[in-house]
Amino acid sequence: MLSDVSFTIMPGEVVALIGPSGAGKTTLFRCLARLAEADDGEIHLLGRSIRLMRSGQLRTARRDIGLVFQQHNLIRRRSALHNVLAGRLGRVPLWRAMARRFKGDDRQRAYAALDRVDLLDFADRRADRLSGGQQQRVAIARVLAQESRVILADEPVASLDPAAAVSVLSLLRDIAHDRGITVLCSLHQIDLVPGFADRVVVLRAGRLVTDDAIKNFRSLPAGGDIYADQGEQ
C-alpha cells in the first residue's frame, strides 16, 4: 500500500529510492510503469498522465520508459542480442517482430548497446547461459536499445555480488549523465547511494519520509535507523 507519495524528478536527474523491503518500492515502480493500477492519485511522465492512457497510448508512452527489473527478466532461450533487440519492438512493424528480421539500423543500435555494457563478445550467447551480472547488463543494454528517456530500475543490483553491483550502478549513472536520461533506481544497500545518485528519496511503510539532495544525505538518519524504525509503523 502506498499513500502520500508525491515527488517530482527533473529531466536528467538520477534519484535513488531507498527503504526497507516491504516499503512499497516495487509497487511504486509497477504503478509508474502501469504494470499495476493505482487506485487514486496522479502519475505524470514526461508531461503526460500515465493513469488515464488507453492501451494504444500506453504502448507508445512505454517506449520512453525503460524498466530494469531485479530478476533481469530476459527471454531465457534467446541470445543476448535477441534480448537487446527486444528493446526495438515498440518501433518495428509486427511482421518484423514475428520473423525476427530487424533492419540494419536496429541491429546496429543493439550491437552498440551491447558494446556499451561490454558484452559484445557475448552477443550470440543464450541469455540463460550468462552470469547474473551479465544478464543484468543485457537488461540494461535492452533499455539502451529502446532509447527510452526515463529508466526505472527496481533493485537492479539486489541479486548481484558487490563487485557486479558497483559496476552495474556506475554503468547506469554514466549512461544517465552521457545521454541526459532520467533515472529512478531503488536500492536497499544504502552504502551504494553516494557516488551514484544526485538525490535520495526514502520510502517507508508506503509513505515518503525523506526527499533530499545527495549532499545532505550524510545528515539523514544513519542507514541503520531507516531500517530500525520499520517496526513502529
Binding site: 510503469a33 507508445t60 512505454r62 524498466l67 527489473f69 527478466n73 527471454i75 527486444a86 519492438l89
Partner: protein, 245 residues
C-alpha cells in the same frame, strides 16, 4: 465418517451399474481361449489390404492432429489468462475448448460420418475437433505457467500483444508445445484404430468385420499390425522429441 460411508456405498453401487458378473466371465473364458487357439496361424492372405488400412489409420491420425494443431494455435492464446486477461474472451474460449475436449473423437466421427459420408475423412475431422480441445487446454496451461517477468519486460518496450506472444512467449514455451503435440499424435494413432467401428475409415473397420465373421485368423493379423504400428509410431515420436526438444 458419514462422507466415507456414502463414498463406499456409491462405489459399491458402481459394481451393480457396471453389471459385474464373474460367473459370466467364467463361462466366457473358455470361448476366448478357444478363439485364441483358432487364431493361429494368422491369415496373411489380405496382408496388402490390411497394410494399406494401417497406413490409412496413421494418415488419419496425422492429418487429424495437424488440423487440431491449427485450431488449437489461436484458441490456446485466447484461453491463457496471462495473454488474454479479459474475462469476456477468456471464459468463452475455455468453455469452447472444454466442449471440444469433452466430446470424444469417436463421437465426433460418428456425427461426421453422417455429414460427410463413410471413410477416413470423417475420422480426420473427428480427431481434429476433439484433439483441438485437448491440445489447446494443455498448451494454454503451459503458457499460463511461464514466468510473467520476461513478458512484462518486453511489454515495457512498447510492444503489443502479438509481438509479445511471438517474440517473448513462443521461444519459451515451444519445446513444451511440440512435446504435447507429439504426445497427442501418439494418442490419436491408438484411438484412430477403432474409428473404423463407426465407419470412419482405417483398420478398425476390418477389425470389426473380422470379429463379426468370427474370422479369428484375420483378427490376429490385424491386432499384430496394430501393435507393430503403435510401437513404430511411439519410437518415431520419441526420436522426434529428442531431435526437436
Amino acid at each position: 465418517m458419514l462422507a466415507l460411508l456414502v463414498g463406499v456405498a456409491r462405489y459399491a453401487a458402481c459394481f451393480h451399474y457396471a453389471e459385474i458378473d464373474l460367473g459370466r466371465l467364467w463361462v466366457g473364458l473358455p470361448k476366448l481361449l478357444h478363439w485364441t487357439a483358432q487364431a493361429w496361424p494368422p491369415d496373411l492372405s489380405e496382408l496388402d489390404l490390411l497394410l494399406f488400412r494401417a497406413a490409412q489409420t496413421v494418415a488419419m491420425a496425422t492429418i487429424g492432429t495437424s488440423l487440431a494443431v491449427l485450431i488449437a494455435a489461436p484458441l490456446c492464446l485466447l484461453a491463457a489468462r496471462n495473454v488474454i486477461p479479459e474475462s469476456f474472451v477468456y471464459h468463452p474460449a475455455r468453455w469452447l475448448l472444454d466442449l471440444l475436449r469433452g466430446v470424444d473423437s469417436f463421437v465426433f466421427a460418428l456425427l461426421f460420418v453422417a455429414a460427410v459420408g463413410l471413410g477416413p475423412f470423417a475420422g480426420v475431422l473427428g480427431i481434429g475437433l476433439h484433439s483441438a480441445g485437448s491440445i489447446a487446454k494443455l498448451w494454454s496451461e503451459a503458457i499460463e505457467t511461464i514466468e510473467p517477468g520476461p513478458l512484462e519486460a518486453v511489454a515495457m518496450t512498447g510492444a503489443g500483444r502479438l509481438k509479445l506472444v511471438s517474440y517473448a512467449l513462443l521461444p519459451d514455451v515451444l519445446p513444451a508445445l511440440l512435446s504435447t503435440s507429439l504426445y497427442i499424435w501418439e494418442f490419436n494413432i491408438r484411438s484412430s484404430t477403432v474409428l473404423g467401428l463407426v465407419g470412419a475409415g482405417g483398420i478398425g473397420q476390418d477389425l470389426k468385420n473380422a470379429v463379426d465373421l468370427l474370422d479369428f485368423r484375420s483378427v490376429a493379423t490385424i491386432i499384430l499390425i496394430i501393435l507393430a504400428m503403435v510401437t513404430a509410431i511411439d519410437r518415431t515420436s520419441a526420436w522426434l522429441r529428442r531431435r526437436l526438444i
